[in-house]
């Protein structure tokens, strides 16, 4: 009898998957429940955070509302403040299948059906008394820390929060966009000046504490350790079979690093423990764990671009693991930082490394650089296919994704597919449409493997690849596709 490891805590709140879904690769039958230590640690960490938030008024801890991409966790920790991430609240409401009403309430208030549903879910939450997804009232912000990376809508979101919380100070950190695929000294200087001139003084003012560079350095050291572990963790999915799913389970694994714990000792302990557990699975050649137990066989390996849908998260995941599909790399797990290529926070360059971290999050990558990164994932992680989950709410991700897909298909000949859903708007999840598309895609990958076996996709030499997407690249990059489709 195989043992079943409990799914991540947030999955427990998701609705049951449709019962009549055929299982091909098949998950194991449920058996004894064993919680791995990392899961207990994460549960404890998040529980402590929410408890601290609900008692913030009594304990006098100051509360910072901020965002995941480009978050300044180490700085927040250095001031002993508590973070609230509105987009994490929204996604948790989505997973509890309660975001729909909040979105409708925001629309009644005047927000268009067209705009970001994270924003509307958050506004709806405010309109309903700011009760958080755990059922407890969230404290109002003492500081709005508008540190945002790669999403213009974040700026608009916080302008809305400024109106909802009048008088609350706002610290603004504008992150320059790495449009040319590089971070220049001017960009770094612009950010460090903002930290010095606006962000840190506001944090001092709100917290009532003087900025302590040694304390920040301590948290940056801890962040570096966590980042080492998380980079090693996601490197394990290069193994065949992959010991974890780097998208559906990956969003769980990035939880602590994205929720304010990156520079904390608890995060180091968590990621060390998690790595040990996953490495042990990898050493035994075990495939990933799903909400229904251990996957029997990894049949296909995918790279996925775009955030997941949260309102139907478990049904969505089931569409993959029922067919033995494992996501081995995803861009979404890089929104809170990209550590695969060696970036680490550095205590010796505190503000500069905070700036470089912000500019290095995935959403701050230019479109050509995103294509390069995904191409590298497909090759290095030995993927059989590439999938885009295009999110209606998220123009930062979605605008240009069809070009990404065409480019990758053109460069690698990799099977590609495209589905659409939304972050937390249940009205925009069509199970049947997504299933039909995925079934066709999986069949396409299956046929390809039957005909030719697993053929690794080859990438051009890096210098050639960069020429194709860089300034000096040729417009021919795109032309064959258009010509093939009779568009030119």
């Amino acid at each position: 009898m195989s043992k079943i490891i409990t799914p991540p805590p947030f999955l427990k709140t998701a609705a049951k998957a449709p019962a009549a879904f055929p299982s091909k690769a098949g998950a194991a039958k449920p058996a004894e429940v064993v919680k791995e230590r990392s899961m207990l640690l994460q549960k404890e960490m998040l529980g402590d955070l929410f408890h601290s938030l609900t008692t913030a008024k009594e304990t006098g801890r100051k509360v910072v509302y901020t965002f995941v991409p480009g978050n300044l966790s180490e700085l927040i920790l250095a001031f002993d403040m508590l973070p609230v991430y509105p987009e994490i609240n929204a996604l948790q409401w989505g997973m509890r299948k309660k975001s729909g009403q909040l979105i409708r309430d925001a629309e009644k208030y005047g927000y268009s059906e067209d705009v970001c549903t994270y924003v509307k879910c958050d506004v709806g939450m405010f309109l309903n008394g700011n009760i958080g997804p755990t059922g407890e009232k969230l404290p109002p912000p003492d500081l709005l820390l508008l540190s945002y990376t790669g999403c213009f809508t974040f700026l608009k979101w916080f302008e809305s929060l400024q109106k909802l919380y009048p008088g609350v100070p706002t610290a603004m950190l504008h992150t320059p966009y790495a449009a040319d695929g590089i971070v220049t000294d001017d960009m770094v200087k612009y950010m460090t000046r903002q930290l010095e001139e606006d962000v840190i003084p506001k944090m001092e003012q709100v917290s009532g504490k003087k900025f302590n560079p040694e304390k920040l350095a301590h948290h940056l050291d801890l962040a570096k350790e966590s980042e080492d572990w998380i980079a090693k963790l996601f490197d394990l999915t290069k193994q065949v079979p992959s010991p974890i799913d780097a998208y559906f389970a990956g969003v769980y694994y990035i939880g602590p690093i994205n929720a304010g714990f990156r520079g904390a000792e608890s995060a180091v302990e968590y990621y060390h423990q998690l790595y040990d557990e996953v490495a042990a699975r990898a050493a035994l050649g075990k495939p990933p764990i799903t909400p229904e137990g251990e996957l029997e066989e990894e049949k296909f390996r995918l790279v996925v671009e775009g955030p997941p849908n949260w309102t139907h998260f478990r049904e969505f995941w089931k569409l993959f693991y029922d067919m033995g599909v494992v996501v081995v790399a995803s861009s979404y797990t890089k929104v809170g930082g990209y550590f695969d290529e060696g970036f680490r926070h550095e205590a010796t360059k505190p503000l500069e490394s905070l700036a470089r971290y912000c500019m290095g999050c995935y959403t701050n990558y230019s479109l050509p650089e995103r294509i390069n990164m995904l191409e590298k994932f497909i090759v290095d992680y030995k993927a059989d296919g590439f999938l885009i989950n295009s999110i209606k709410s998220c123009n930062s991700f979605s605008a240009g994704q069809l070009l990404i897909m065409r480019e990758l298909e053109s460069r690698l000949g990799v099977p590609v597919s495209f589905i659409e859903s939304d972050l937390v708007d249940p009205r925009y999840f069509s199970y049947a449409n997504i299933k039909n598309r995925l079934d066709s895609f999986f069949q396409m990958m299956d046929q390809r493997k039957r005909v030719g076996g697993r053929q690794p996709f080859t990438r051009q030499a890096p210098e050639i690849a960069s020429q194709r997407v860089g300034r000096a690249s040729s417009p021919d990059t795109l032309l064959p596709i258009l010509q093939a489709e009779g568009m030119l």
């Binding site: 966009y177 449009a179 903002q194 295009s390 123009n395 690249s473 040729s474 795109l478």
Partner: protein, 436 residues
Amino acid sequence: MQQTLEALISKCEHLAFDLQFTHAKNWKRDGSMDDRSPAAHRFLVGYLPIYIPREIIHAMGGLPVGIMGSGDRMQIIKGDAYYQSYICHLPRGVVELALSGALSEFDAFIFPSICDVVRNLSGMFQIFKADAFIKYLDLPQNFLSEVGGAYYRREMETVIEGIQAHLSLAPIPEDLWRERLNHSIRLYNENRALIERIVTLRQEFPWRLSAVDWYCILRSGITMPVEEHNNILYEVEGMLQEERGRPLDNIRVVISGAFCEQPPLGLIKTIELAGCYIVDDDFMLGSRWIEGNIEENTADPMAAIVEAYLQHSTFSASLYEAAPASGTKVERLAELVRRRKADGVVFAAASFCDPALLDRPELQNGLERAGLRTIGFQYSENTGQFKVIKEEVGAFSDSIKLWDAVPEAGGIGDAASSQLVQVWLPTVLDEIDIVA
């Protein structure tokens, strides 16, 4: 030779909507005919909405050309293949222009930082238009001179250096550059001043020049050298001194939210025919971005442009509202409504335009709290059905006319229009369905 206003408007409409940018291309070719002339190195820089500092392109000897999408004047085939249904329409038209060859003679493209869609479009252009210099212009959202200002200056220098490198142009000597940039600043100051004078004239006498005609005149300015546009504006200003047309019993509205993807002419016409004088708007906002003059004849004209952006930008959904000394967006819009003696605000935003639509609830609720009337709808640049909008705006107009018992001085109710109110209803009913 003096031409009639009608002829001038016709010419401007043709220039404004020429999606081959023939006028700009001819300007460039004219400069290339004699390679010994100072104009030998003319170049074209396409820019996306909303604002770029056109002065620096002009001072370098180039022509900044606004690319506002393809409106309802081009069938989108290739552009749609690159965008999901929930992305606004503007980038589809821009991609269509790029892939159809309409932008073939452009040397550079600038994408100002206004939203995620235009941002990502800059990356797409790096692939589509690899033969051109592509610049994402990251306009600062920090408004301290030594922080955001320093960064913005470096961004502008990057534009200059990038174009020079791409076209193998020699750097301009410092003294000459200062002289040329000050000259360009003067010309664009003149352009903005003329625009503001005409807007003020239209505020007083909106019947003398329709909003549609004014829009064509204004939009034509992004397709031609500023000197040429200034001449046109002088002519228009002169012609508007004389009475023409006749006042109608229209309400006076300000349009807000249409700063990027431009509404089709038919939509502007529909608003007018629904009983509204459009006395101010944010169409073609980039041409009016800096309020007032950029300081002229300074020793450091780049610094003058930077300071003007930091201190004298208009309010916009794409600009962070950082405790502005000049007031919040709600306050500034309300002030504009009062200054233009408008009766209400029509919020017209492109579908799926996150910046405009995310601003709308606060603006709309804020104005209504201030006792100002508003209505809102969405459109796309190729909207072809206006009937619903006409009915909505018409009802808005009617409600103001009907229920404003004591019209404010200078608003709808001067003596003449008050009399007209009594005969308004059947007239409006007769007019319904004029616009298809």
